[in-house]
């Protein structure tokens, strides 16, 4: 059963120059215990999607679509009090930078208690006990003592654990992790992602993992959606995607990753030429066409629709024959 079903979600900004679409026609579903990674460059609409799922978009952002179904309920049609009761209890989010997302004048324990009492009421003593238990669950050592610490007294990793404890306080069905480890050291990063993975398996939570780091996706996600300029260009299982990416953009992204140099040779990193088009300057056809080595007149005139292919969905006119053109992508990388 899918816990979260997003159907044809579009997000645009109402500006004096007209509507600027930031996310177009996004559809996906998320099953219990599954981690779906949403990958893309800055500004491709990842974080906007996260905010939309929580109903946190504010004007001038406008959200349209056939529905965001959280456990069968359409978030687009619910009123604000109902939405508020779902946020934190059925769907929760972990933010990128725990220092700015935590309240500097409350102790971390009080902040976890807040979430519990807001959603479930109950006495302060019971809430306190649960907060301490949650802190132990997210592996905060010496939880009883740390309960009374202010956020600035904790390390970045511990702060992010506190955020996770807050997000998981009421056992939400869906957890959105928006670049949860960007602000952390690489060693801590692995610990935090492992923790999210463990808790996900224990509770059967569905995780939407938003990141720009493909390296993390391979180890921590079951499925991957690659987003480019507001559209999903490729959606595959993580294993398939890394074994055989089919969209030229995905191929470029994977080729651009530095590998562990086995040959010892200093290799030049592959790169994708050009930059992401601005919201107001989208090409007529495929948004990736100006940067794509395979682009032809069809790509430049018609937006490719998403088709089921190779166990996933790919939005490219030429994905079927991409292997025949392999040398072309190598050439871009080396040029």
């Amino acid at each position: 059963m899918s816990l979260l079903d997003v159907k044809n979600l579009s997000i645009s900004f109402a500006t004096p120059r007209g509507r600027l679409a930031a996310v177009r026609d996004l559809s996906f579903s998320l099953k219990a215990g599954e981690t779906l990674a949403l990958v893309g460059e800055s500004g491709c609409g990842k974080s906007l999607t996260a905010l939309a799922l929580l109903g946190l978009l504010e004007p001038p952002a406008v959200m349209e679509g056939n529905g965001i179904f959280l456990e069968g309920r359409n978030l687009l049609t619910l009123d604000e009090p109902t939405l508020r009761s779902l946020r934190g209890s059925r769907i929760a989010m972990i933010f990128q930078e725990p220092m700015t997302a935590l309240n500097p004048v409350l102790t971390v324990g009080e902040q976890i208690m807040e979430v519990i009492t807001e959603h479930e009421g109950g006495g302060r003593r019971a809430a306190r006990a649960r907060a301490v238990a949650l802190m132990e669950k997210v592996r905060i050592p010496d939880a009883e003592r740390r309960f009374a610490e202010y956020p600035h007294r904790l390390s970045g990793g511990l702060r992010q654990r506190v955020m996770i404890a807050m997000a998981l306080a009421c056992s939400p069905a869906v957890l959105i992790a928006d670049e949860p480890t960007t602000a952390l050291d690489v060693t801590i990063q692995a610990q935090i992602l492992d923790l999210i993975g463990t808790l996900k398996r224990e509770n059967g939570t569905a995780v939407l993992f938003i990141t720009h780091d493909l390296g993390l996706v391979g180890q921590h996600a079951d499925r991957v959606m690659v987003m480019y300029a507001g559209r999903v260009v490729e959606e595959r299982t993580a294993a398939d995607l890394f074994a055989d990416p089919l969209h030229p953009y995905t191929r470029g992204l994977i080729a651009a990753r530095p590998g562990l140099g086995g040959s010892g040779r200093r290799e030049r990193l592959m790169e994708i030429p050009g930059t992401v088009p601005g919201l107001g300057a989208m090409p007529v056809g495929c948004a990736f066409s100006p940067r794509c080595a395979f682009a032809d007149d069809l790509c430049r005139s018609t937006v490719p629709t998403s088709i089921d292919q190779a166990g996933g969905r790919i939005a490219c006119h030429h994905s079927e024959g991409i292997h025949d053109r392999e040398p072309a992508i190598r050439r871009i990388g080396n040029s």
């Binding site: 508020r84 009761s85 946020r87 989010m93 700015t100 997302a101 935590l102 807040e114 807001e118």
Partner: protein, 295 residues
């Protein structure tokens, strides 16, 4: 970093309790220390007024125009009606502080309330509340309170109320600006994403983080309320049943050529109280807001 003021409120790095850290920082500044000592002295006078001078300070107890230092029983002398000036100063401290603090509280409640609602909700609520604020700002606050007291008859309650409801617009604008800064911060976004209600977000997550500028302006509000009360009393719009520093200056005004001390001594008391609060406000501002100093 998004919350330097508030972070620094508690972050001291020495490992001691944050509140004491603030006090220590305050005591390190000579001007703030002066302010604290002066304020403590005025508070002591207010507390000791009844034990030291149990009788009504408006009673005629001495010969008129007793200059200060001529009679040990009346160290500050007496006025033209033979009232003990020292008793007046002590009892006046009570009235000045009472009216100053309560009026400032009234302003704080209105100012924080309007500023927070306006900054948090924005849109029409903001527009409406800010027009109201501007309406109040177009009328000079002192003349406004003068008019209110004149209409309602002077008493401690009307004077306090009149000062309180005219002094809040500046604070409301300050709070609005601070709330506006935090409104779209990740802190508020995270709280909303965890299902917190508007009231909880404002009271628990926003206001405590904008406390520093509010504390500073509160001390200035008390000072200006004391000054307004004294001015009203000087103009004869004080509560006639209680002694007030401003009223004493007003009474002494007529004899200033021959007996200067009758007006000067309560004048010095007003000066000391306002100066103390301003020094304290400056010190708090520096102690709470160390942005420039740290780097």
């Amino acid at each position: 970093m998004a919350f330097p003021d508030s972070l620094i409120l508690s972050a001291d790095g020495t490992g001691s309790h944050p509140r004491f850290a603030l006090l220590r920082r305050l005591l390190r500044r000579p001007s703030a220390l002066c302010g604290l000592v002066l304020m403590a002295a005025i508070l002591a006078m207010a507390v000791l007024a009844h034990p030291l001078y149990p009788d009504d300070p408006l009673d005629m107890v001495a010969a008129p125009f007793l200059h200060p230092g001529t009679d040990a029983a009346f160290p500050l002398g007496s006025d033209m009606l033979g009232r003990d000036l020292a008793a007046g100063i002590f009892h006046g401290a009570r009235i000045s502080l009472l009216i100053g603090v309560v009026a400032a509280l009234v302003s704080l409640v209105i100012g924080i309330g309007i500023g927070a609602l306006s900054g948090y909700y924005g849109g029409r609520i903001d527009a409406g509340l800010m027009r109201l604020t501007e309406l109040f700002q177009t009328i000079p606050p002192f003349l406004f309170s003068l008019a209110i007291v004149a209409i309602l008859q002077p008493s401690i309650a009307t004077i306090t109320g009149a000062i309180g409801i005219t002094a809040w617009p500046g604070l409301a604008r300050l709070v609005r600006a601070e709330v506006l800064k935090l409104r779209h911060s990740e802190l508020v976004e995270a709280s909303i994403s965890l299902g917190a209600s508007d009231a909880r977000i404002i009271l628990l997550h926003i206001l405590p983080n904008v406390l520093a500028p509010i504390v500073v302006s509160a001390s200035i509000l008390v000072a200006s309320a004391i000054l307004s009360e004294s001015s009203l009393a000087f103009l004869g719009l004080g509560d006639p049943n209680v002694v007030s520093w401003g009223g004493m200056v007003g009474a002494g005004r007529e004899v200033i050529r021959t007996d200067w001390y009758v007006a000067t001594i309560p004048g010095i008391a007003i000066l000391a109280a306002v100066l103390a609060l301003n020094l304290l406000g400056d010190g708090l501002n520096d102690a709470l807001n160390r942005k420039g100093q740290r780097r």
